[in-house]
């Protein structure tokens, strides 16, 4: 038999998205851009250069990563939860030859895809603003993919545990928001107490930032293998946990 695997699940979500693609991209773009332009030019006007670059350029790299993270997280939480719990789309799929691994993997790759659209949209704007420096910026694309995958997998863990939409707020207040503040999105982590900076450096958002910021500045990032490795490991481990928890939830 021809076993289609996760692809039709990804395809299903893509088909839904395609119907509302433009408003979806613009909607995802507006919020991070407002922050980036507002803080970048408003706050940035009062700030010195950071590591030899203007604050807006520093912030642009952080915004690409934070925006990717947010898009992957929203998709893996709210949208996946709608499909799993409200619309029972997953139940319908599980009555076909597809298995739960296909469903959860399809959701993982879809959330990563959607976050890739978001990260790319920001990158395009940033490029149009003249904030990229040379062709190395193209390597930001795979960095966005890796960041999106890691946060999609992490979001799916929380999705598997959530009793309702309200539960997702805790994920943002306890995990996403503090991480955004200590991962070097808005300001360099050397402003933080040493222990906090150390925690921040290991978080997946910081791994993405560590890749994207130098690439945007036209430099080769340090410790590429380490950052890529941490993001891939986060994806693999989080996906395994998410799959196990979802199995316990749906197929007990």
């Amino acid at each position: 038999m021809n076993r289609p695997g996760f692809f039709p699940v990804w395809q299903r979500n893509f088909l839904v998205w395609k119907k509302l693609a433009l408003p979806s991209i613009l909607g995802n773009l507006a919020d991070p851009l407002i922050y980036m332009l507002g803080l970048g030019y408003g706050l940035g006007a009062m700030l010195p250069e950071i590591g030899g670059q203007p604050y807006i350029a520093f912030l642009a790299a952080g915004t690409i990563c934070a925006s990717t993270m947010n898009a992957a997280t929203f998709e893996a939480l709210y949208s996946s939860f709608s499909r799993m719990h409200v619309q029972k789309t997953w139940d319908a799929i599980l009555n076909t030859p597809l298995g739960l691994t296909d469903v959860v993997a399809g959701e993982l790759f879809w959330a990563a895809t959607k976050s890739f659209f978001s990260g790319c949209a920001i990158l395009v704007v940033v490029t149009a603003m003249g904030l990229t420096n040379g062709p190395l910026a193209l390597f930001i694309l795979p960095a966005i993919v890796l960041t999106g995958l890691a946060f999609a997998a992490l979001g799916l863990i929380w999705n598997a545990l959530a009793p309702s939409y309200d539960f997702f707020m805790y994920y943002f207040t306890l995990f996403i928001t503090p991480m955004t503040l200590i991962s070097g999105v808005f300001f360099p982590t050397d402003q933080l107490p040493g222990w906090l900076a150390l925690i921040g450096a290991w978080l997946p958002l910081a791994q993405g930032v560590a890749l994207v910021r130098p690439l945007l500045a036209g430099e080769v990032p340090a410790d590429i293998a380490l950052h890529v490795g941490v993001l891939l490991a986060t994806t693999a481990i989080a996906f395994t946990i998410a799959l196990r928890l979802t199995r316990r939830r749906l197929l007990k």
Partner: protein
């Protein structure tokens, strides 16, 4: 070989045995009914048969495959109409079928070719491009049935396929299910509607508390478990029913009372009917006994919530 063979099936949740040693077999090309009150274990049994949850004990063979080990392979030959509609609200009717076909590994071109026939089978040809939210309950059920047929399955599971439908919609579904059976499909059906089971099922089992309590064709079950005739006597607010029941109990083989109605189960109701002809303040209906009488005798009259 049976389309579905279940033996010694057990499933426990917490400290309740939801399925407690169930065995049955479904012959290919027949309609098999799984009947029981709410909470009897019907839906859990279906989930076990589809490999959506692992049994604590017992063996299941579906379409020649061991379940749950080979469930994904077996499900390629199976269509499912679930109890609650889970059509994709973001898609049109035709898109629902197309997307579902992909889950079976079908090529888009092949599914597109099948869509007109599937929509026609569901009497939804004019709704091909309609969104799900615009469909009535009956249309949604029919589309769910068409969706279950997208990969031309040998076996179709139907979990309460007509619950919540009006009589017209219900009759249309029944007619379509008969058509599927004459096309050689095996149907496995759960229902609360005894007339539905009587019309459609070649064989059925009644389960309660996860155990099989009766098995046979609807006719056999009626012949085996219950007197052939029923006289239902209703009190018309005169309050004379209890006295009538006491006085005429011996005219029936068995009498059951439920609220303002007494059910006299008899082999020969002539004497009882004569007595009723002269009784004031009582109304009655004389009918042949049916599967619902059997069901209530086997599972009791008290509510199951």
């Amino acid at each position: 070989m049976a389309a579905l063979d279940v033996s010694g099936l057990k499933k426990r949740y917490g400290d309740s045995d939801v399925v407690a040693g169930l065995s049955f077999a479904v012959e290919p090309g027949t309609c098999f009914g799984l009947l029981g009150p709410n909470g009897a274990g019907k839906t859990t049994t279906l989930r076990l048969c589809l490999g959506l949850t692992a049994p604590d004990a017992g063996d299941i063979t579906l379409a020649g495959r061991a379940i749950p080990a080979d469930a994904q392979v077996a499900r390629a030959k199976v269509g499912v109409v679930p109890q609650f509609d889970n059509l994709d609200p973001d898609f049109t009717c035709a898109e629902n079928l197309l997307v579902f076909g992909r889950y079976f590994g079908l090529k888009d071109a092949d599914v597109r070719q099948r869509i007109p026939a599937l929509l026609e089978f569901a009497s939804l040809t004019s709704k091909a491009d309609a969104r799900i939210a615009t469909l009535s309950g009956g249309m949604k059920r029919r589309l769910t049935l068409a969706r279950a047929l997208v990969a031309d399955p040998d076996i179709v599971f139907l979990d309460e396929p007509t619950t919540g439908l009006d009589p017209q919609a219900r009759h249309l579904i029944w007619e379509r299910l008969k058509k599927l059976k004459s096309a050689g499909k095996t149907l496995i059906l759960t229902t609360h509607f005894m007339d539905e089971a009587e019309r459609l099922c070649d064989r059925l089992i009644v389960i309660d508390h996860g155990r099989k309590i009766a098995e046979g064709s609807p006719r056999e079950l009626i012949a085996t478990h219950i007197e052939p005739q029923v006289v239902e006597v209703f009190d018309e607010a005169a309050g004379t029913l209890p006295a009538f029941v006491d006085a005429h109990r011996q005219l029936a083989d068995r009498v059951e009372q439920s609220g303002e109605t007494a059910f006299f189960y008899c082999r020969d109701p002539q004497a009882l009917l004569a007595a009723l002809a002269g009784a004031d303040g009582l109304r009655y209906v004389h009918r042949a006994s049916n599967l619902e009488d059997v069901f209530i005798k086997l599972t009791g009259r008290e509510l199951r919530d």
